[in-house]
Symmetry: C2
Subunit: 167 residues, 2 copies
Amino acid sequence: MQKQVEYPEAIKTKYPEQVVIAIARDKNGKANPVTLGWTMIVSGDPPMMAIAVAKKHYSIEAITRSKCFTIAFPSVEMADAALFFGSRSGREVDKFAEFECATEPARDIDSVLLTDAVANFECTLQSQTGAGDHFVFIGKVVCSHTSTEPKKRLYTIGPGHKLGPAS
Amino acid sequence: MQKQVEYPEAIKTKYPEQVVIAIARDKNGKANPVTLGWTMIVSGDPPMMAIAVAKKHYSIEAITRSKCFTIAFPSVEMADAALFFGSRSGREVDKFAEFECATEPARDIDSVLLTDAVANFECTLQSQTGAGDHFVFIGKVVCSHTSTEPKKRLYTIGPGHKLGPAS
């Protein structure tokens, strides 16, 4: 049976929720990573993926300017990096300088990949739609990469940014 | 270390992936459920959610016509229903007539809720964006419901529509 509840109560049933780290270069060329839980695939052919980014986030400017971004699936070992990239702003800090996290150049876009991620997807910006307090960016996947070692994907497994493996 | 691979290979790292059942009424008033893995929250205030639906799906017509839809989080007990609703077309069958699945009326939109789901979100259509072979529908959540009994959410846990709990 269903009972009506407030949205914040109902949405607590969403866990585990996938986590990605999106990366785009700002106007100074600085690669800026941001941790996001609101992401999905949107097309199979061609492959396309979407991310929702808070309108106040520094990443908005970087993505709209560079018109491309990386979507990385962080591994469970990257929980601290995901927390750091999700809690600090690129307006104030150079996140990759402050938190050690191996990167390597992307192949087809002007961005970087996360060396220790489960997978990285290079995306070119296709569209941007306002939705409440976020922008939805849709990107076409132009190049894909996976880890050479087996790794488990990181999820948010409970409220308060509790991160871990899904199982 | 990362190695470049084809997209179908890289995207295999996505599991577990959340599953929702979206429901909208067609022009004859028939409530038509479709199972989707491509969904995300897109706004916190106001709460908004997005779904990506294949352009060829019967649900496209129902959602664009009725301008509202339910997003249900199926429970693990609903795996067979999720498979049925995801593999048949509302053009050919009345899915709720063919597969027993308890429903109840929505409160604020002209749709139904899934009685045995973990949660149900009533959404009014805010925008529609084409993205490759899918349309992305963004809905504003106008009413939320959860199960009165504790239930586990259903996920796709591997290729070939392998469904189960995330952990």
